[in-house]
Amino acid sequence: MSDVRREELLISVIADMLQDLNHVAVGALSPIPGAAALLARARSNGRLRVSLLGSQTHNPFTDGGKELFDCAAQGRIDAFFLSGGQIDGQANINLVGVGDYPSLDVRWNGSFGSTYLYFLIPRVILFREEHTPRVFVPEVDFISAPGVSEAGTYRTGGPHALVTGRCVFSFDKEQRRFRLASLHEGESVDSIREMTGFTFDHSEDVPATSLPDKDSLNLLRGRVADEIAETYPEFASRVFG
């Protein structure tokens, strides 16, 4: 794997989760999910639409700040990305801070649209590169958006997977638990358990995270690198040179 960069692996893993979809939206300041969406588009034979917020050329919205949210509520967005300063084992995410709200010990930026989009976009992919017990906690201090809802709550969307710098989890909505789906190079079930504050399911034999194939790597380093550079020039030059 020495010739595949960590970022390229993450992009490839996420892109694989976006096949067969019609429309993926990506929030601001999200270069890896953005590149993953563009890679999935490059492989989709023109099927996939990608909306990158903050992009001049990949942002299709013309009805102001509300349009992304209305579009999600209309069911027109198949996948989106969220993250969290804390994420717990029920896929609750916390973007507000550490401690007892409102007298927090640490204050983060805030929840943005997560409190809404998590409910309405069928395939929300949680992405957080830092995989440590301070991020992946048993229970978040503040629920910016809940991972699961009580029966009877209108909810057409929710968590699909959690991609980290160490592994990939899928999320089982019935069990309300993460399940270890694959391990990045150098990781084991034990190493993941040690760095994860919540408990999770896993099979006896957890596969390694697939590396991007040659065609994908070529697309990624060529067309996708060019496309993502429009929105994230520093990221593109650092990763793709």
């Binding site: 299709p60 209309q74 069911g75 027109r76 198949d78 809802s149 789906a181």
Partner: protein, 297 residues
Amino acid sequence: MRLPETTTPAEGVVAGSTVDYSPPMTQTLTIEQIADAIPDGSLIAIPPDYSGCAMAAVRALIRRQARDLRLVGVPSGGFQADMMIGADCVQSVEAAAMTLGEYGAAPQFVAAFKSGELVMRDATCPAIHAGLQAAEKGIPFLPLRGLIGSDILAHRPDWKLMDNPFSETEDKLVALPAIRPDVALFHAAKADRNGNVWIGVRRELMLMAHAARQTLVTVEEIVDEDLLADPVIAAGTIPGLYITGIAVAQNGAWPVGLPGCYPPDHSHLADYAAMARTEDGFADYLQRHIMPVPAAA
């Protein structure tokens, strides 16, 4: 890696909620394909005569003998609705009014209304807009002021009086249910190859597209440049994301005209208004102006 779907449908979904808007890429169609893409019984949102009416597509719908269409005038119906009603395509109309404007009453509508063949759901302009906005926002209803004490409200059992949850004293509003058209159908000046459609200040067309499951558009031309690339043009453009199919129809809004492009054909409209006053006259109009298949563009 493709993860398995752990649950289908998603846990927690309220039964009966439909989420089927996910947009495939915009298709380029012919006028006849536009008509074929609108099944009998569809709920169709159409603009008023002064906005952008897909008259060529309406004629194709009549030629394919569409039946049981349920029209929503946004907010009123004019020539296109009257023609479809006269040609027996229409089961019901929801609108704030049915009128040929300066050409007077909509004669085929009045005849069908009085015969009892047509279900008319009389509304008021802002209620139609509010219903579409509710669909645009993915909410089941929007509350609105006004309306209370009118016979419009009295004859709309589907509209509900509700209490303002923020008022300590009694304060009623009217809850208007979302209007989710199966199809929004209109005509515009131009589209591009990504399915983006320029509509300028005619934002009711954008609202219709946001609210509808499918949006079918006829345009004067399809241009090569990306309409979203120029920020001035983009401001009046519906993204292709919302557009199911586009057909080129030059002069496609004739005879009602397209604001900014060509005016109404006043003498033709006056002829229609006169001919449509009788069954024979309307049949004659149909044979002369609607049934002949136009030469391909």
